[in-house]
Symmetry: C2
Subunit: 204 residues, 2 copies
């Protein structure tokens, strides 16, 4: 059976999304055949306007409706602590903890030679500029919150070296703690995680 063109088009669009295979794309498209037209219009408009109504913050490279973004513009945040993340989505996760009161810096990925992503493809130079000459407040700590995988570790190591070259006094460079995830199971933890958990053990 040749699928009707409008359905085929939508399936194609869904299939281009990460983690959505042909079967899921089909299921979603056929599901949408049964929703009200207004919902389709709403969905369609939110897709088309996604990038039109958002900007990238010129300070931290987070996605935002305004430039600078609300976090960079806020008086209530500690501008002397910068948390460096790979992508904007990571900020969302960190903000949910409600624990961090500093500001952020979005790298736009991690160093990954296999994917042709070197330091110049990321906003590392801009981070160094911020550390060196931030106008609002002198930076006292850079928290490297890149992912705890090979690319993230390499990126953290590279940035650490670059910041150390700036020779700024009393600047801490830290990395998020590693160990067992809460709710996890010792039995299923991998060796590296267990090793890190030993290294990071605390007095009770």
């Amino acid at each position: 059976m040749n699928l009707p063109k409008p359905i085929k088009n939508l399936i194609d669009s869904f299939e281009r999304l990460p983690g959505i295979g042909p079967k899921t794309a089909q299921r979603l498209a056929f599901y949408l055949l049964h929703v009200p037209q207004e919902m389709l219009d709403e969905f369609g408009d939110s897709l088309k306007n996604l990038k039109k109504d958002t900007v990238i913050c010129s300070i931290c490279f987070n996605v935002s409706e305004s430039d600078p973004c609300p976090i960079c513009a806020s008086q209530n945040r500690d501008h002397s602590v910068i948390c460096v993340v790979e992508q904007a989505l990571d900020i969302l996760a960190l903000e949910k903890t409600g624990r961090f009161k500093g500001v952020y810096h979005v790298l736009g990925g991690a160093i990954s030679p296999l994917n042709n992503i070197g330091p110049d493809e990321l906003s590392i130079r801009q981070l160094l500029d911020r550390v060196r000459e931030q106008e609002s407040e002198r930076v006292k700590e850079v928290i490297l919150a890149t992912n705890p995988n090979m690319e993230g570790e390499a990126t953290a190591m590279y940035i650490t070296n670059e910041i150390k070259k700036l020779e700024i006094n009393e600047l801490r460079i830290t990395r998020l703690g590693q160990g067992l995830p809460t709710g996890g199971d010792l039995e299923y933890a991998d060796e590296v995680t267990l090793q890190r958990a030993f290294e990071g053990r605390r007095e009770c």
Copy 2:
């Protein structure tokens, strides 16, 4: 962090889709921030036009660009055999086998008292009309291809009874074969499947 409104809207739209949770919706929305605007426009348009450019075939209730649909209009299909399916998506799966040359009838679901879906919510009456007085060719067989679960079985049973009441001579009512799925593993098959496999065993 308050998410920018355009991103929030898109996440909400994605979350309404079946099988897409909050985390996946977030990931998809942030992924789409990095695709070209043309692709977003294309995606948006295909959503908005999905229902505008499709119709429901008045004979078999399949989704189509024309009424009657290409299968119902085709001279090469055997109009004396009707395969009854729950939804249009099932036709896609069956057509991929290339094995069935008859026509279809889409019920629009299965009888499910818990979800308030009775026989009147499905296109069962129209199926009975087709069986009774199809103009093109007298119906010789009705294959009930509803899902092999409780709702599908109940629906098949209900339709069987209703068709039998019509007292049409030489009309076969069949159900798709049940047993072990190809590539499956005996060890992991449930009892009912194994029981059906025994019942449906064949001579070698």
